[in-house]
């Protein structure tokens, strides 16, 4: 997923980007580009990440959390009521054998997950726990559980209002439900929202979904092989991305799509093994999580600090409310759009509640965070900005150190995982960006090619330089997507409620039933 330097805070930057220092110097033009760009985009970035008046919480975080809470209440906690049903759908219990060969619920879920599971789960959580202490984990889980309702809402609408073309292909996503949905309800401004969303989506795809990923992948590779110019990584990555999205070289994409879930499973298993190895401390770790959630246990900002970090990490890791998943899920051909909503609510659960929590537990349980033996409180680092860690690690290096305390070889696996996650996130976002592009400029091979080539050029730029302001801006663009998207969702949520009550009724009456397999 995407990590903003704003949100990832300097802790991540120092850990991850230290290797980039030399590379940055090599790029002489970099400074000038940074300056010009930040002057131009600064106000927009500051606006998106501005704290809510009177608090230190960025208003965009509150925007997402409040939306998730509203949707949870409005749909009477659909994420818990239909959780079991969602699992049944993914298993294929309700799939008509005559529809076999279409995109399955499982495939749609896996595709959307490969776009969100990534660096956010590995590095972002370490940042959250490093700054907010163990208590951040609690709030992260709460935000993840609430975010399930946002995903449910947007993905149901994504399928309901997608475009199907004569050649059998589909295009869907927030821009389609904004224009078609608002039109259907007789509301004005749907088209304007759709255009705004598409612009932010393209910027977000080129930035957070591309440049940031390329940049982080390069840092990981350079961390193992020793430093070398980023444009080399960039060219190789761009070449591979080009082969996949322009050349239609499906084999590479297929390999990645198979390896990424494998990496994800391996990551969770490794985390589980470490947790089991420290079985006697599981109770203590959860005690720290609960105590920290409400007292802060001495972290900077106390309980509020833990809460902000937890909410931030969850909101930005699972993309609930951003609208990107609605694009990915629209490809499924189903007679019931709402089934895709049910399936998608599993994403924040897997991404945040399971994987992010695993990372946090491993960091806590391997005691990477330094506790004052006398007071039982967490000690702060010299600057007083974050919890002191055993080796002064933060970000990816903190996660890496936590896993390495049990398995010495794990950092290498983690580096490979980060590179692959970055690649799969880029492939996913190239598609999201493309859909927004074709919405603005129309479908057509040449128009699509133009975007794909621009996308590949940005891979090289992203890997070659540490364009801080560009990344800030592109992350701001992704969260600007959420501003537009959530705004539209408030108007369209009643459509989803009609679908939900109709479906629930038919499920109860037995009209919708499992197919005998």
């Amino acid at each position: 997923m995407i990590i903003s330097k704003k949100l990832g805070v300097s802790g991540l930057a120092t850990g991850l980007l230290a290797n980039a220092a030399a590379a940055q110097e090599a790029v002489g033009l970099d400074e000038k580009i940074n300056q010009a760009f930040s002057d131009f985009t600064g106000p927009f970035v500051s606006f998106i990440f501005a704290p809510f008046p009177g608090t230190s919480v960025p208003w965009i975080v509150m925007w997402l959390v409040i939306a998730a809470t509203v949707f949870s209440l409005y749909f009477a906690f659909v994420q818990f009521r239909f959780f079991g049903h969602a699992v049944s759908l993914v298993k294929g219990d309700y799939s008509d054998p005559n529809d076999a060969g279409e995109v399955s619920h499982f495939q749609a879920l896996a595709t959307a997950l490969s776009g969100t599971v990534g660096l956010g789960n590995i590095a972002g959580v370490a940042v959250a726990v490093g700054i907010g202490g163990p208590g951040a984990t609690f709030w992260m889980i709460v935000a993840g559980l609430l975010g399930m309702a946002s995903k449910f809402t947007e993905c149901t609408l994504g399928v309901k209002y997608r475009n199907e073309y004569d050649d059998g292909t589909v295009s869907g996503g927030p821009m389609y439900y904004m224009s078609k949905g608002f039109n259907e309800l007789g509301l004005p401004g749907g088209k304007i929202l759709a255009v705004l969303f598409s612009i932010f989506c393209i910027l977000g795809a080129l930035g957070g979904g591309n440049m940031f990923q390329a940049n982080q992948a390069h840092q990981q590779i350079a961390g193992i092989t020793g430093d070398f110019p980023g444009w080399i990584t960039g060219l190789v990555f761009a070449g591979i991305v080009f082969a996949v999205i322009v050349g239609g070289l499906k084999s590479i994409a297929r390999v990645t799509e198979k390896v990424v879930p494998f990496m994800g499973v391996m990551y969770v298993l490794a985390a589980l093994v470490i947790i089991i190895m420290h079985a006697d401390q599981i109770g203590w770790a959860f005690g720290q999580i609960f105590a920290g959630a409400f007292t802060g246990l001495g972290v900077a900002g106390g309980m509020v600090g833990a809460l902000i970090q937890g909410f931030r990490r969850a909101a930005f890791s699972n993309e609930a409310g951003v609208g990107s998943a609605a694009i990915a899920h629209s490809a499924v051909r189903t007679k019931e759009p709402i089934t895709e909503g049910f399936v998608s609510l599993l994403e924040p659960f897997i991404d945040t509640v399971v994987i992010c929590t695993m990372t946090a537990l491993v960091i806590i349980i391997t005691q990477q965070l330094v506790i004052d033996p006398e007071t039982g409180m967490y000690m702060l680092n010299e600057e007083g900005t974050a919890v002191a860690t055993v080796d002064g690690n933060s970000g990816v290096s903190l996660t890496s150190a936590a896993f390495a305390s049990a398995f010495g070889w794990f950092p290498y696996v983690l580096a490979v995982a980060v590179v692959l996650f970055a690649f799969s996130t880029m492939i996913s976002w190239s598609y999201y960006g493309l859909k927004a592009w074709t919405y603005l400029f129309g479908e057509g091979a040449t128009k699509e090619l133009v975007f794909k080539i621009i996308f590949c050029i940005f891979v090289v730029i992203g890997a070659a330089a540490n364009l801080g302001p560009v990344i800030d801006f592109s992350d701001a663009a992704i969260f600007a997507m959420a501003v537009v998207n959530v705004f539209a969702l408030y108007f369209l949520m009643k459509v989803v409620r009609q679908e939900l009550s109709s479906y629930a009724e038919r499920l109860r009456s037995g009209e919708i039933r499992k197919f005998g397999h």
Binding site: G92, S95, P97, N98, A100, G101, E102, V103, S104, H105, F106, Q107, A108, A110, T111, S114, G115, D167, G168, T169, V170, S171, V244, I245, K250, A253, R254, E257, K258, V260, P261, I327, A328, A331, V332, R333, I427, S428, Y431, Y432, H517
Partner: protein, 145 residues
Amino acid sequence: MTTKIVIGLDGTENGERAIAFAKDLAGRIGACELLVVYVIEWSPFTFQTPEENALRHKRREEEIELATSRIVEPAVQALKSEGFAAYGIVRHGDVAETLNAITVENDGSQIIVGRASADGIKKRLFGSSTQYLVMHADVPVTVVN
């Protein structure tokens, strides 16, 4: 009552042998209907890119069209021209499970398939679709060598 015999084709000459055997059998039984089935190997649990998902419906139609026009329809026409009652079905899925499911749905009394061609390591590890079909089918299965 009409006996319904299901013939599973795999697009190779094994299918030809299965058809030949089925014709012989049908000729002996008399009132007999032949159901020609081709299963396109597919699993709902694979990993795909967003673009593959978006194109999936189109690909599926193409796959069904291809299997129908190249494999199933010629076989059905050939059977009909020889005076047999025959029709065809093409469906995606796991070969053995889907063949069995179609047979059960259509009240088939038995399944005839050709012996699967050797498939290297995968076959050694997991066994072939034919082996799986023989072990798990709900009706008698004849494997023609």
